[in-house]
Symmetry: D2
Subunit: 134 residues, 4 copies
C-alpha cells in the first residue's frame, strides 16, 4: 500500500473527491515527475543530442508542473476548484505534449518509451481527477 | 537590473511575448513565493494560531504554484499556450484567494499585510502576461 | 517495479553507486516528501494545534530537502561527492529530527505515526546511499 | 527594499543569525536559481550543444539545491545547525562547480557569463551565512 493511500486512510475526510481518484493521481504524478527527471538526464547522454532538445524541454516543464500538482494534491484538502481545475488542465496538457514527444523517440531510446508511458498514465489519472472534482 | 532582465537581454529572442511582461511576472512570482514561505512561518508563531490556519494553507499552495510558474517562465521559451494559459489562470486564482485572506489579517499582522501585497502584485503581473500570450 | 527501477534499467550505467541503493533512496525520498506534505496538512486540522507547530515546521523543511535530493538522484548521474554528500547529510538530519517529532505524536495521531515511519525509512535509505558513495 | 527584507522587518526575531546575512543569501539564492533555469534553456539553443551538456547538468542541479535552500531560509526560523550547515555546504559546492563551468563558456555565451556571476554571488552569500551560523 502506498504512503499516499496510508496517509489518506488516517484522515476523517469529509471530502467530495473519491480517495481512489486522488491516490491514483498522486502516485502517477510522482512517477511522472521522476521519469521526466531521469529522461532529461538520459537524453543528455545520447549521440543524437540535437534531436532530443524538444524532449528535454518538455520533460523539464513536465517535472515542474507535476511537482506543483503533486504538492497541492498531497495536502488532501477539499479542492478549491478555481485553483485545482486549471492546474490539472495545465498538467494534462504538458503530459500530453511530453508523452507524444517521448513516444516519437520510443523505438530509438528505451528511456523515452518508459517516460512516455509515465506521462500517459499521469495524463489519464489527472483527467479522471478533473472529472471527479468538476 | 534584475538577473531575469539581464538573462533575457542576452537571448536573441524571436518571441511573441513582450520582455517587459515576462520580466515583471518572473520578479513578482519570485517575490510572492518567498513572501508566502515567510508568512507561513510567521503565522505559525502567532497567538491566534487557530485563526491563521486558512492563511497557512493558502500560502503553502501559493508557494508551490508560483514556484512551478516561475520555473516555466524562467526558461523564457516561446510559451505553449495550452500549458501556460491554465497554469497562469491557476496562479491568478491562488494569488487572489491567498491575497484576500492575507488582507483579512493585515491590521493584526504586518507580515500578512506585506504578503497580501506580494500576492496582489503577482496576480496583476500574471494577468498582464496572460493577456499578452493569448 | 517502480519507474525509478525501470528508468535505471534502460541506462548503460558505468556508475560506481549500486543501483539498489539508488532506487531505494529515490523511492524512500518520494514517499517521505509526500507523507510530510500530507502530515503538515493533517496537523493543521488537529484540535491541539499549538502542540503541532514544531511538527509542521519540520515537515515543511523535510519536504523541501527531500524534493531537492530526489531531483538530484533522479538524474542518475555519477554523483559529485562534494555536492551529494552534504546534501544527503542534511537530508538524514532533517529526516531524523522530523521522524523523532512525528513519533512523539504517534499515539495521538495516526497520520504522525505513518509520517514518522516514512521519515525513518528515508533516513536509513539516505545513510546507505551515503556509505555507498563515500 | 526586497520582500525578504520587508518580511524580516515585520518579525520580532530573537535569532542569532544577522538579518543582513540572511537577506543577502535569500536574494542571491533566488537570483541564482532563476539564472540557472534561464541558462539551461539558453544552452539548449546553442549550435555547440554537445559542449554545453556539463553546463546544463550543473545548472539543473544548482537550481534544485538553491530552491531547497531558499525555501528553508525564507521561513526565517532559528536555524537547526545539523540541517542547515550541510545544506549550505552542498549549495556552496554546486554554485562553485556550476560557476566554474559557466565561466568556461563566458566568452562564447553572454548568458553563461551572467549565470556564472549569479553562481559566484550565491556561493559568497552562502559562505557568509555559513560562517554566521557556525
Amino acid at each position: 500500500m502506498s504512503y499516499a493511500r496510508q496517509m489518506l486512510s488516517t484522515l476523517q475526510r469529509n471530502n467530495s473527491v473519491s480517495a481512489d481518484a486522488l491516490v491514483a493521481a498522486i502516485d502517477a504524478l510522482s512517477d511522472c515527475s521522476q521519469a521526466c527527471s531521469a529522461d532529461t538526464s538520459a537524453d543528455l547522454r545520447e549521440q543524437d543530442l540535437a534531436e532530443m532538445v524538444t524532449c528535454i524541454r518538455l520533460c523539464l516543464d513536465c517535472t515542474d508542473i507535476c511537482d506543483a500538482t503533486l504538492a497541492i494534491l498531497s495536502r488532501m484538502t477539499e479542492p478549491d476548484r478555481e485553483v485545482t481545475r486549471p492546474l490539472l488542465e495545465s498538467c494534462i496538457a504538458i503530459c500530453d505534449s511530453c508523452g507524444a514527444e517521448c513516444e516519437r523517440h520510443a523505438k530509438m531510446h528505451e528511456h523515452c518509451r518508459v517516460c512516455g508511458e509515465a506521462c500517459r498514465r499521469c495524463e489519464r489519472a489527472c483527467k479522471e481527477l478533473l472529472t471527479a472534482i468538476k
